[in-house]
Amino acid sequence: MKGKSLVSISDFSKDEIMEIVRLAGDFEANPGQPLLNGKVVASLFFEPSTRTRLSFETAINRLAGSVVGFTDSSSSSTTKGESLKDTIKMVSNYADLIVMRHPLEGSARYASEVSDVPVINAGDGANQHPTQTLLDLYSIYKTQGTLENLNIFLVGDLKYGRTVHSLLMAMSLFNPIFNFISPEELKMPEEYKMFLDSKGIRYFEHSEFTDIISEADILYMTRVQRERFSDPIEYEKVKNVYVLRNSMLDNTKDNLRILHPLPRVNEIHTDVDENPKAYYFEQAENGVYTRMAIMAAILGLK
């Protein structure tokens, strides 16, 4: 992985994913490893994302590295009309590694091609957010003891949610069964179902959020957003259908864990928070260890 950019989850092989998962566990057990001492990481947020930025910057600080950069494009030279190429060329002269968030899709792939140092994609529009996927995988591994042969339920917006698409692609390396629960308007796109068919991976689609979740090992919840619906009446009809309540967890498996990329709106009722199967806050914390692992691996320090 040394010197390699991470733009899309498919840039990493199954072995490389497992190596990141293993390293993340190592950093969680021993967080104080000053491996980035003397290294400079550029954190370029062309659009604000406080959650992702803080996770990365915490990871960099835990590794004793230095951070330079900006937190939104209004404080960067792009407001003066500088091209992305010129910004990346300039920054790659200063930094050992670039972490980039950008509203345009494909920007991270392009940056990785013009940069002299590796680029980690911290989200490029609606396209990819691979460090989220790797932290999801680490969370699944940590709670299940394996990534193999799991029954994964994806709930909510399966049409536009990039996190569920990347998770689906990555988990497909580990012989899963998928269950998709979504309103008709937000079903899993055909291209992903064709991909699963081509791999011989079983999946089931449901429009109702019922006791079928008793089979689940992982329940991955997502937001159903109002702006995804052309007809506001349709949104009103479904917005309370895909809400997880504590009472629904009575007959679920002991090893079930509930994941959510956060922030949530109302799709997980707060009465679930105290249930030991709720894992979304720990999941966010896992992001720091996973990002430490990714940066250390890409810089060849581990």
Binding site: L84, P103, G106, S107, Y110, D124, N127, E191
Partner: protein
């Protein structure tokens, strides 16, 4: 001279592009930049064809096309065939194949793609040749035939 040959006269040296779908003739002319060169060009359209309902044909004197130019035609006229003419004889026939990769020809359909905002050579992998589908190397979105715009 046979009746057939009267339709579009023969050339001494150059390229004949045959079996162009008639409805795409003017697009082929524009993609190949034939409206901007000074070579002698004749074309015929709405000709009867066994393979196509109506075909068009273009004859360009003293012009031989590079492969990447031919690839550009393949995207809108996959049935087109090239005859390379030297001294009134066909010395080579070429079919136009849709390439596996399309570089610098097509505009990405996704308005939020970086290639539509910065000066970047577009790159697509061809994921389907039957119902043409191009996957953008950058934003990973699919541009299909109905949304195809040639740069």
């Amino acid at each position: 001279m046979s009746h057939k040959k009267l339709k579009v006269s023969a050339i001494k040296n150059g390229t004949v592009i045959d079996h162009i779908p008639a409805n795409h003739l003017f697009k082929v002319i524009s993609i190949l930049g034939l409206d901007k060169i000074s070579n002698q060009i004749t074309f015929g359209t709405n000709l009867e064809s066994h393979k196509l309902n109506h075909k068009a044909i273009i004859k360009v004197t003293d012009k031989y096309f590079e492969d990447n130019e031919i690839n550009k035609i393949a995207l809108i006229a996959p049935t087109a065939k090239l005859n390379i003419i030297k001294d009134y004889e066909v010395i080579e026939k070429k079919v136009v194949d849709i390439p596996d990769e399309v570089v610098g020809i097509v505009k990405c359909f996704n308005p939020k793609c970086i290639t539509n905002k910065e000066d970047i050579t577009t790159r697509f992998s061809v994921v389907s040749k039957e119902e043409l589908a191009l996957k953008c190397h950058y934003c990973e979105k699919i541009t299909s035939e109905e949304h195809l715009t040639i740069i």
